[in-house]
Amino acid sequence: MNIAIDMDWLLTHSPALIVAIPLLGAFITPLISKIGDSVRNAWAIFIVLLTSFFVFLLANDILTNGSVRTYVFGGNTALINNSFAVRILFEVDGMNAFIAIIAAVLAIAGIIYSWSFMKEHTGLDKYYTLVLLMIAGMFGMILTGDMFNFFVFIEITSIASCALIAFYTNKGKAVDAGFKYIVISSVGALFILLAIGILYSQYNALNMAVLAGNIQYTFLDKIAFGLLIGGLAMKAGIVPMHMWLPDAYGRAPSSVSIILVGTTLAGLYGALRMTFTVYGNSLLTATTNKGDIPLYSIIGAIIVSLAIVTILIGVLMALKESDFKRMIGFAAVGEIGYMILAVGAALLALGTTYGDKALTGGIFHIINDALDVGLLFLVAGAVYYVTKETSLNKLGGLARHMKYTTVFFVIGLFAVSGMPPLNGFASKLLIYQSTYQVNPILAIVAILCSILLLAAFVKVFHSAFLGPKISKFEGAREVPKSMLIAMGFIACFIIFFGLFPNIVINSIIEPAKDAILNYTSYIGGIIP
């Protein structure tokens, strides 16, 4: 068997395999779980590792060559007699590969963590089926190049996530959080479908690249743009539509919360793709009705004002909260504000060097925030596993019993609030210094809220880990090994990204930034 030919075949078919393997694995899992528990656990990690292998193979090829790969379902090429056939296309460029890497890392950590976190619950075969379905939907949302396919994968992901958020059915609050999540996700997705219908009615195309090539900024296009950005911003958790995020993240099991972070980031990726690629031509050329203000300045101003409100409200609510996982949910809302701030500042300063640096910082912050908030959720789950408490008023003095968990929490604390030398500082430094040149007030608010976030997490550290011995937690032991391995896996990435930020920026972030600023290469993947 020739290994070289197999690699090429694998590389050509990898976009389809990345979505098909978790989907097939999800449907076979109930059969395999009849054999035994450890066989089912091994099957879950085997599927996720196989998917991650394909993700890293595809990402390695795209990020080093800078090319765009397309995969056509149901035929050989996208064109028949020089016109477009009705086929679904997956199109992968630098930004897709970047988000897929984040999703793969979070999925591996989530599955390893849930081996021992969920061991004493019943109904675990349904749990692993739903987790694999959620991973399949998340990868489909990231890799697709077709608008209606994007909507279908959003719905798959939200149905699987809702059932997982409501996993603790013996308590009422978790089921209520699941209900809130599915109502909000359903309304958002229906408005996205309305926008897709409006765009289809004008251009007779559902493909993102064809839409990007043909779009003119008519009145109906403006309505569709508002609906798309509104629906996707609600899924990404931008204030004032963020209120479902602390409820859903706070009541879900911790191993589900870390994969939910991945799906929220996939929604944010969808918003960036719509703004920069599908409407990319009209961002640069269209002007407004009144004067000669170009469209990207208006969109940049809207995004920056939403971002400032997001950061302030996320951090202020996190300071007052007394429930461990809800506080991490509010911190996640604040961190999404930083990403949006960088993107908005890049739009306001399009074409200058500090605009480029702002976009680099924003994209670098996506992967840093996913890793940091993921590690904090895993630590919160470890504390809940040992003490069965989530309220900070009842915890205390845990650093005596759980030494490794305390070290991981300190790493997560310094990373999420932007302390040197960890990875949060590298991306936040880029954001501070580029947004300062757009407007000094933005940088002032960003630095102030970083310090408030540090204050909020030091409060958690003091309440939960320091302090005298509490007699109720006398018999507390360290958490099982698989949870420590998952936490250590993410902490290694955090320390590596912090100590060597240049390697990460040159190899992963710069191709993603070039891919998202350059919408013509996305169109060139299909129309040669």
Partner: protein, 121 residues
Amino acid sequence: MISPEFLYSLLETLRTGSGVWNPISWIIVFVVAFLVVYIVRGFGKEDSQVKGEKAKVFLSGNPELEKEKMHVGGSNLYWGFTDMLSWVYRGLDKMHNGNVSDYIFWFVIVLGIFFILLGVL
């Protein structure tokens, strides 16, 4: 893969638009400063805690309970800061009341603002 260029690129500094940041130099400076502080601390007096009668000055006459009850934690921390901002938190708590209809109401308001801004401007 481990080549001299790779090892050299590990030590590169990150150039932002208007500054530089090198984590390796920061760690070296931090470790040196930490060693200096640790050595200077070693010259201090051992066992200089106040106990018993001398400690009553610090407690201003309150009785000293056992350690478990004296721990200030949870929602009692940062009381001064959150009390100063209580006018902000009154409005924010009304926004986060957990009612799903109010969440969709905020969504419709933001959609309306988007339509007005995109359509008129």
